[in-house]
Amino acid sequence: MAEFDLAIIGAGPAGMAAAVTADKAGLRVALLDEQPRPGGQIYRNVSQASADRVRVLGADYALGRGLTTALAESGVQHIHGAVVWAIEDGFRLSYTANGTAAQVSARRVLIATGALERPLPIPGWTLPGVMTAGAAQILLKGSGIVPRQAVLAGSGPLIYLVAAQMVRAGVPPLALVETQSTRDMIGALRHMPGALRGWRGLAKGLGLIRELRRAGVKRFTGADRLKVEGMDRAEALCFRAGGEDHRIACETVLLHHGVVPNTQVARSIGVSHRWSSAQQTFTPVLDAWGGTDRPGLFIAGDGAGISGAMVAEIAGRLAALKLAEEAGHLGISERDRRAAPLLRARARELAIRPFLDAAYPPYPGALRPDDDTLICRCEEVTAGEIRQTATLGCLGPNQAKSFTRAGMGPCQGRYCGLTVTAILSQTTGQSPDETGYYRIRPPLKPVTLAELAAMAETGATNPEGE
């Protein structure tokens, strides 16, 4: 089995920055990532993107090149196309790459698995033609594909960005249906002083909104009662806004209401998590460096709580400094000297967060879905069935699994976990922390039995030798 000082899961901004920093400090680093090329979701494919693609995606996207170049020039062993499906104490990571399962062991691990889009369960959200705004962006970044006749619905800054990117690509969306209300915006104003410290972010957002207005993209705000209509596929998005019912005929509905930390890896090895009411999600309990309650295990990036790519990069570097110090490659004073400007930069970047969280809250209708709305897509469980388990005496999500099978399909609860916790806690009156979350089990992503069976024989080195 290949052995390293540090294994990093995820080659997004946090993972890449940490890998390069730790490598420079003298650690033997393995960087495992699902994608063929580094960048994560935010900088997906950036090292290969054409000038035209960069024009469409914007200048922020091109920033990722600094990281991918630094990674390519470093001594980091980048194991690409590697789906990590188990983490065990010690630490040992099991993964599949090129159809073959293998393992690496490392004294320390940094989890940089980023975020997932918050599921948006509304009537009709499982119809073909409905996907998330992030999925549309993956198509755009990965293959230059833009969905036609699309409506963007939900809330959050990403919607503006995706819409603007679609405009630049020459296929503007039909409309933006935003669920945040004027009242949310007014409530967010108390966070304005912080937001003004992060004025660059605000200016970018206003620029995007201007760009959309110039392109003539219709915007609705304060939308409610969202519903996708269609028989075999999505045909229209219906909603209520400004006291009127609307129906926009379309081929594609792109849903989004923020992103949430992807906590599967951390949870599977028992890291403590707490409910964050500001972000309406669970986040891992971490120290200032990103260290968890398990020695040698760190988390950086959006997986630690949503704060964006710039903070992720900084957090990656901070965690790497602390890891290098723990491994004896860096003195404490040198660590702190190098961390000081990073901590200042992080505080600056984080200043706008409370404003964004308050101004773009998740769509309330999706946090309390109708009884008939499917919430577990894998096992086809409705919100009503989950409510019924609670009234029958079900105490939490893990018991709900044996009542309904919710969370037991191929996604292993990644997409329904938060919704199930929310519904149970609303029904029983317990807090989300008391209600808890699914126990996450390996494999984190499905692995074939043949891969498992062949694991011992092929040993642990990556067959590509990369």
Partner: protein
């Protein structure tokens, strides 16, 4: 409690299933009970049920630190069989298997008992001899099993590969009335019946101490305060050692993780349970269509409820040889349960050095199949101080050397 019936289903179907009532209550603990069972898994709930049903003791509390059926009852591979070697074991396991046959009716709760048959594969010459001996022993005990040829194995399990280079199939021990049941439903059915008799099932309450006076139990300290009792049944599987320590005695038990995994669902392809004890693997197909695969126990003691991957790897490597068609199936989930192993691989149902404290543990890797028999015998032991079913399974057998050696029949695989 309203009975479940075809009419009830029809009635509820007509009103969106809104009228089902809670199956069990969640009461506040009383000050004291005639008997307290620690652990609301299958064995604990079955004990409470038979205390009420057979002995009329209904002022009973079942205290559970998590939720009922959330431990090994909800983690096993649901196999039911009684083809053991020794008379004492055959008696209690066969009692249990018989009770499973009528459990759905007895509890008015569908536990989905499916007597689909269990084959234990003989894959070495040693196993052939061993299983032939078990078949003879079973004949004398009145347990219906037979040793069958490879051709017959293939007939029952068409997807099997008899000619594996490392693990050929040389025959099998076939118990046609063995099978599976829905594990959660067993716990739920007992819980509903217990609640209906007025017993208190107290969930999310952890026992933190055992209070004694003059060598006899007077109650338990819990996370919700002290609860008094003169009779305490400890039925907590892997955590038995912890509870015994609270009560002040020691157990000859090791706790290890036993693990299992489940694949994505596929169409029906195997309508019985196949166990391959040489390779520590066993497999059946759930009603949903998943292949449920059980593995071996970890070689070291722990309480992690996870298990390690090298065991799963070993199990799967061998099973892929015996069932080549499963190789491309995706594994969706792996988990572990903490099992309590004794030296002779037989359970302990016993009085203890502390008066009024009884212990039911040591079921190791195979407790699910025994639930009703274990509850039946243990309730009798708690109520009367003696049960013919449990007489051989006392703690003192480890002092006296009267082991009930089932390491061949129980081994690892269940």
């Amino acid at each position: 409690m309203r009975r479940y019936s075809a009419f009830a289903i029809a009635r509820e179907a007509a009103r969106y299933h809104q009228g089902w009532e809670r199956a069990w209550a969640s009461p506040e603990p009383k000050k004291s009970y005639d008997a307290i069972i620690v652990g609301a898994g299958g064995h604990g709930l079955a004990t409470a049920f038979y205390l009420g049903k057979n002995f009329g003791i209904t002022n009973v509390a079942v205290i559970e630190k998590g939720w009922l059926g959330g431990g090994n009852t909800g983690r096993n591979t649901t196999i039911i069989r009684s083809n053991y070697l020794q008379d004492a074991s055959a008696a209690i396991y066969e009692k249990a298997r018989g009770l499973y046959e009528t459990m759905s009716q007895d509890l008015n709760y569908n536990v989905m008992f499916s007597p689909r048959g269990v084959i234990m594969l003989a894959q070495t010459h040693h196993e052939v001899r061993g299983y032939q001996r078990t078949a003879h022993a079973n004949a004398l005990q009145g347990v219906k099993t037979e040793f069958i040829s490879p051709a017959r194995v293939k007939e029952i399990v068409p997807i099997i590969n008899l000619d594996g280079p490392r693990y050929p199939v040389l025959g099998g021990l076939w118990q046609a009335r063995g099978g599976t049941a829905r594990h959660d439903a067993v716990a739920w059915g007992y819980a509903r019946a217990c609640s209906d008799m007025g017993m208190d099932i107290i969930q999310k309450t952890e026992v933190t101490g055992v209070r004694k006076e003059n060598g006899a139990v007077v109650g338990v300290e819990t996370s919700r305060g002290f609860i008094g009792t003169k009779k305490l049944g400890i039925v907590v599987a892997g955590h038995s050692g912890v509870l015994a320590d609270m009560a002040g005695f020691r157990l000859p038990i090791e706790s290890v993780a036993l693990q299992a995994l489940v694949s994505e669902p596929i169409k029906p392809c195997m309508d019985c349970v196949v166990m391959a004890n040489t390779v520590h693997g066993y497999m059946s197909q759930s009603d949903k269509g998943e292949m449920v695969i059980g593995g071996g126990a970890d070689g070291y003691n722990n309480y992690t409820q996870r298990g390690s991957f090298h065991h799963i790897e070993e199990t799967v490597r061998a099973l892929v040889e015996t069932f080549p068609m499963i190789s491309r199936l995706k594994q969706l989930r792996q988990w572990g349960g903490i099992v309590d192993m004794t030296g002779d691989r037989s359970p302990i149902l016993s009085k203890t050095p502390v008066e009024g404290v009884f212990i039911n543990c040591g079921w190791g890797t195979g407790g699910f199949k025994a639930i009703p028999g274990s509850g039946w015998g243990f309730a009798e032991l708690m109520a009367r101080g003696y049960s013919p079913l449990t007489a051989e399974f006392g703690l003192n057998r480890f002092k006296e050397g009267r082991f009930i050696d089932e390491s061949v029949a129980a081994g690892v695989a269940h």
